[in-house]
Symmetry: C2
Subunit: 201 residues, 2 copies
DNA sequence: ACCTGAACACCGTTCAAGT
DNA sequence: ACCTGAACACCGTTCAAGT
């Protein structure tokens, strides 16, 4: 992502992304207007067009920045969980939900607006999934996870934490009073151990 | 007395919901305009205000209709799966993802736009979750599912299928060429059996 | 009651022009 | 090069009026 120094401001491009983020956090993507972003950084409502072809491009830039932050959050959560592979996977799951909780504006742009047809996933987005799939494969090679299609297992793990994040289950009565971290940990443990009484086939 | 075809005595409300749905399916909620809905049913752009206080209320009506259809789809999927409790739960999961796939417009309105603060979940929405939680409790009482917090287990199951639906994983290369039903079934089996090699604790 | 056109305060975006 | 105001074609919504 190129840094674009503007004439009158230190870095208008970055300022626009930041302002967009703040406005989304306040009122949602739906209420985001280019005019308001401009006013927020003290610039004409047309200044944004110097750096972004249109509103969609600005959103795409926010989206990309979000996925980069997201991928780092996943790696941090994984590494903070120690060396045990199951703990590392669970650490990523917790980091996923906490990221959504703490960065609702980013999460909304990253996953909220359906990908316009033809828009390919950005690099950081693909990297985020790779991180998870690698952790699964590592767990398998260590013998901590059952054998099988690692990608499928990654899909299941990803879907679980994404569902919790998207439904904000950790922020509803469904969480049954559990703290977010404990709720996600409990759900993750269910996936790891299985729901069935004869879980180990 | 001649029938004035431009009048929609009584059925305009339903026609507006239906038209809204079709337009959302074509271009997404974001591009939905009251004016276009009106034109679509051959009515002035203000006619909608006879039946809905504003655009948000129309969307809420679509949302509610969606959840009603959704709850029925879950029950149908459950009952079609037979009497075995694990098969019934899996049947609901498959129905969940298939509903999202076959009714993207409904799904987008139901879950896409974040609940405006203060908007309580509609009856059908709560019923849908109740159906799932009951199926879990039934599986426990039959001894097919492990004991434990049924609500938490329902959250995990719900999140898994919601994540698949929201990320449209069954419609991406992540599905690894599996048919949607097979992909969801495989993911559901992973949750039921567990990812860990020592799944049965 | 049910529907309508005109009008208002917003949008995103284009354009020609200012510095 | 970078930024601006005026202008255009849209929105949702209000209002007074038509049938």
């Amino acid at each position: 992502m190129p840094v674009n120094k503007s004439y009158h401001h230190g870095n208008l491009r970055t300022a626009l992304i930041q302002a967009g983020l703040e406005l989304i956090a306040q009122k949602g993507v739906r209420a985001l207007t280019l005019r308001e972003i401009g006013a927020h950084v003290g610039v004409s409502r047309m200044a944004a067009y110097r750096h972004f072809a249109d509103k969609a491009k600005l959103l795409a830039a926010i989206r990309e920045a979000g996925f980069e932050k997201f991928a780092i959050a996943l790696e941090t959560g994984r590494d903070a969980a120690g060396a045990e592979s199951i703990a590392r996977i669970r650490g990523m799951g917790v980091a996923y939900v906490l990221f959504a909780r703490e960065n609702p504006a980013y999460f909304e742009v990253m996953f909220g607006s359906p990908q316009e047809s033809g828009a390919p996933p950005c690099e950081a987005e693909k990297r985020a999934f790779q991180i998870l799939e690698s952790a699964i494969a590592e767990g398998q090679s260590k013998g901590d996870l059952r054998q099988g299609n690692a990608r499928l297992m990654a899909c299941a793990a990803w879907s679980l934490v994404h569902g919790i994040s998207a439904l904000k289950l950790d922020q509803t009565p469904f969480a049954d009073g559990l703290a977010p971290v404990d709720f996600v940990t409990a759900c993750s443990n269910l996936l790891l151990s299985g729901l069935a009484s004869n879980a180990k086939k």
